[in-house]
């Protein structure tokens, strides 16, 4: 199990029961590390309550969603291959267009 704090914002929380913060235990077998790509699938299957196509597209997030691991863009840590450990914060943000 890996203990993570997940945060959804920019309207994404509406796909997750209108809840912005989740503290979760994600099942995982050592020795390899849990990767963000695996977390995405687990999140979709266990937390998402509606319209999965607004969260994922193929094996990654849909266009317009930014993923941050410990407040840093996942692009800087390997996107789907970013490794997660106990206590990590993962933030999913949908880019906003309103003004």
């Amino acid at each position: 199990m890996v203990k993570l704090n997940l945060h959804f914002s920019g309207g994404l929380e509406l796909l997750f029961g209108n809840q912005k913060e989740y503290s979760v235990d994600v099942p995982h077998e050592p020795p390899s590390e849990l990767k963000v790509g695996q977390l995405l699938v687990w999140t979709r299957d266990h937390l998402l309550t509606e319209r999965p196509e607004l969260f994922m597209k193929d094996k990654t997030v849909r266009p317009g969603i930014l993923v941050l691991v410990n407040d840093v863009d996942w692009e800087l840590s390997g996107t789907l291959d970013s490794e997660l450990v106990d206590g990590d914060n993962v933030v999913f943000i949908s880019t906003l267009h309103g003004g």
Binding site: G10, G64, L66, V72, L76, S94, L96, H97, G98
Partner: protein, 283 residues
Amino acid sequence: SGCSEHSLSNHQIKRYSRQLLLPSFGVQAQERLSKASVLVVGAGGLGCPSSLYLAAAGVGHLTIVDHDSVEVSNLHRQISHTEAATGESKALSAAVACMAINSSIQVDAWPTGFKPHNALELVQRHSVVIDASDNSPTRYLLSDACAISKTPLVSGAAIGFDAQLTVYCHGSQGPCYRCIFPEAPMPRACASCSDAGVLGPVPGVIGVLQALEAIKIVTQVGTPLSQTLLLFDGMASSFRSVKIRPKRPTCAACGQQPTITADSLPAYDYTAFTGSTGQQLNG
């Protein structure tokens, strides 16, 4: 003037005295401000506070672009527009409000909107651009024009109780909007304030912060939010700063071999790229 070497008039010294007093700001920053020009695209929930604070601070030249007219449902958040302005051009109404605060600067209203054919010309004439628009195609168009002309872009967005702020196209390492979102989201993932609602102070806070970022950029005072995204949650009144990627070398707009250029931009089909309907493309 006369007591030290600067170009400010006695009236300017008096008007801007509370800024001039700041050791980190002072006469030099005020002179840079008075020589700067800022393009504000959108005179709505973000553009109203943004343009008012820029005018008040003494930005020498302000251009406000918006092709919409003031509606009564705008008044709860678009504080430049009075009830009396209902039905008038938003760009003009916002410009009038700015001039009432500061008649010593130049304010131009551009009520024909921001389009691929005029984007680059408009952007190139300004020191910094404020993205206060309300739709995805305009956000890509603005970013592309700023990437091509290397003009810093202060980008704000808000919906409901949530808002976001960052600076694109800043310096040699700052990313553009396309660096972060190379592929456009599908239209039904893009709620607008008209569809989904918004509480007035939420874009208000971001609009004021956009003015501050623009002031910091043109005066070279402080650290602009380049490669940093500020997230605001109005329900909790909490902010979170996150670190975002630098410029992407393969970016179609700001990368090493861009396909979106001064030549190709005017013909680029932003509505097709974002899957939007034509009417959404506006400032």
